[in-house]
């Protein structure tokens, strides 16, 4: 594979649930290697469905990829089993965190060692605890007793254990306080920066998503309606009105994201 080819390439996919409900209607998008790409859209647009189609978890919900194709690392995911795809380097952090509540924090991380060679995965526990010292403090406690923010940290921590090429992140800010959201996004930016992991980031919080992403897609009822580099999208009047929630004036909104932007700039500098 040449490094120019995207790590993830979705070509014109259609997804149907229960053979009746069509949710995706010819959706295409791609994630360049090493990039963070944001996917935005209102409730029910089909964002989670897109991620499930990529990670093949769709099958568990009687969803089917009717047409089009999804290439991960140049190869169609159609031949992969969901767990096989994880081992090939694609990790899906599902909506709502989905930690194993009756397992301890450390056991949750252990569960993710199945994604990779065991001894290599074991070595990355340190890395996770370095990114999330809070998880280290609570490593022997049950994951079900963590706060929502800590659970999101654990969900991302599991992804780190797997050491994937790309992480699909479904609404990491869901139900988190602004402070926690900022912390999580700071770490997402750091992971992308320091580990070189590509990311496809689904978000409702457009301002946050644009602060870390290089490129953005906006979808409505199953297809992409707008896409572009995040600087351009941020300036788009419609996007400002519907997704950034600032009727034209709203620069103060962006000040709090300075820290995250800082990582993004540094990455540009490095590349």
């Amino acid at each position: 594979m040449t490094s120019a080819s995207p790590i993830l390439d979705i070509r014109n996919i259609e997804v149907v649930y229960n053979n009746t409900i069509q949710v995706l209607r010819g959706l295409s998008l791609s994630v360049p290697r090493g990039a963070v790409v944001a996917l935005l859209g209102s409730n029910g647009a089909g964002k989670s469905t897109t991620l499930k189609a990529i990670s093949r978890l769709l099958e568990l919900e009687k969803g089917e990829l009717k047409s089009g194709d999804i290439l991960f690392d140049g190869k169609s995911v159609r031949q992969d089993s969901p767990h096989g795809l994880v081992r090939r380097g694609l990790f899906h952090v599902m909506e709502g965190r989905r930690v194993f509540e009756d397992l301890t924090v450390e056991e949750n991380l252990t569960a993710a060692t199945y994604a990779d060679n065991l001894s290599k995965a074991k070595q990355r526990f340190e890395l996770v605890y370095e990114y999330f010292p809070r998880l280290h403090e609570r490593r022997d406690g049950l994951a079900g007793y963590l706060s929502g923010g800590e659970q999101q940290m654990l969900a991302i921590g599991r992804a780190l254990i797997a050491n994937p090429e790309i992480i699909l992140l479904d609404e990491p800010s869901l139900g988190l306080s602004p402070l926690f959201t900022e912390e999580i996004f700071g770490i997402i930016a750091r992971i992308n920066n320091e580990q070189g992991t590509s990311m496809l980031l689904v978000e409702q919080n457009a301002a946050m998503a644009f602060a870390v992403a290089d490129y953005g897609y906006i979808m409505e009822t199953g297809k992409i309606v707008l896409d572009g580099p995040t600087e351009l999208l941020t300036k788009d009047a419609d996007v400002q009105e519907f997704y950034l929630g600032m009727g034209g004036h709203g620069d103060e909104e962006h000040k709090s994201f300075r820290d995250i932007k800082h990582y993004k700039r540094r990455k540009r500098w490095l590349s």
């Binding site: 767990h83 599902m94 930690v99 194993f100 569960a111 199945y114 990779d116």
Partner: protein, 292 residues
């Protein structure tokens, strides 16, 4: 009331309960990981006992070889059952899978009758017969040794379950299947493994139960008592199965001793009804269990 007699009955009850606990473990393991209500659990125990007969009598192998062989062959059968008839049912509704396991039970009974005939049989005596005394209380050696084996199995299982990485995969799969897939856990393989382990545990339980009371093709009705145990304990709680097993064993034995043998079942089922009224999801079960 005679205190010694009372404690002797108690010991016998705990002994019986130990076997319920192991059998319950085999049931709960399958239910917890795969959400299959396995109605064939009694028949799987029976199959294990008959396979033991096959090795120890049919092939005249020594007991020390026959037991592990029977357990291994049962494990293989468990794997085959999962692969051939349970996995194709994946995603079907719970009732259909439930019916399939009832069918499986009949098939196992049929198999046993074809190979070994329908008459009850005794297992080769392999339990030491010197009486056991705990303090002054007498305990039947068969019950005593069976309980010891049951306790070792349960203990071993719990240790493995907590420390081995496969235990984590199993508990993760039981907790959230989709999330387990998303960790890279081979969920179908976990299902196979669970059926293999459960079939092995069921075989041990079947051999122990058979060593006490002999075996016959309708030994599968023992599965009904196991079902009562796991419903009381909460279908998806390993600890619940263990505690409820002992509890039901005690109640049954005391009812049998003080009220008469015909009250055994009445006592257990009254207990079942009582528990279901007070805690519909069992003593230790989680709330969202599907009602059949």
């Amino acid at each position: 009331m005679d205190w010694l007699f009372f404690s002797e009955i108690g010991l016998a009850g705990i002994g019986t309960g130990g076997l319920y606990a192991v059998s319950g473990l085999a049931f709960v393991l399958i239910y917890k990981a795969t959400r299959v209500v396995n109605m064939a659990i009694g028949e799987m125990m029976m199959m294990g006992a008959y396979i033991f007969i096959g090795f120890s009598v049919g092939l005249a192998l020594p007991v020390w070889a026959s037991i592990p062989l029977a357990v291994i062959v049962s494990g293989i059968m468990g794997g085959v059952i999962e692969r051939a008839i349970i996995r194709p049912m994946l995603g079907e509704n719970a009732i259909s899978v439930f019916m399939v396991t009832i069918g499986l039970g009949s098939v196992l009974v049929g198999l046993v009758e074809i190979i070994w005939g329908a008459d009850p049989r005794r297992l080769i005596e392999f339990v030491p017969s010197d009486p056991i005394f705990i303090g002054e209380a007498y305990l039947s050696p068969k019950v005593g040794y069976s309980f010891a084996v049951a306790a070792v199995i349960v203990g071993l299982f719990l240790v493995i379950f907590r420390t081995w990485r496969g235990g984590v995969a199993l508990r993760a799969t039981a907790g959230d299947q989709a999330a387990a897939y998303s960790m890279g856990i081979n969920v179908p393989k976990v299902f196979s493994l669970v059926w293999i382990i459960a079939a092995m545990i069921a075989a041990v339980a079947g051999i122990l139960v058979g060593s006490i009371g002999g075996v016959s093709p309708n030994m599968g009705v023992y599965g009904l008592s196991v079902l009562v145990v796991v419903i009381i304990g909460g279908l998806d709680s390993l600890l619940g199965a263990l505690i409820a097993g002992i509890f039901v064993g005690l109640i049954e034995t005391y009812a049998g001793a003080f009220l008469g043998g015909e009250y055994k079942m009445l006592a257990t089922f009254s207990l079942l009804v009582f528990v279901l009224i007070v805690r519909p999801y069992g003593l230790f079960g989680t709330h969202e269990i599907e009602r059949l």
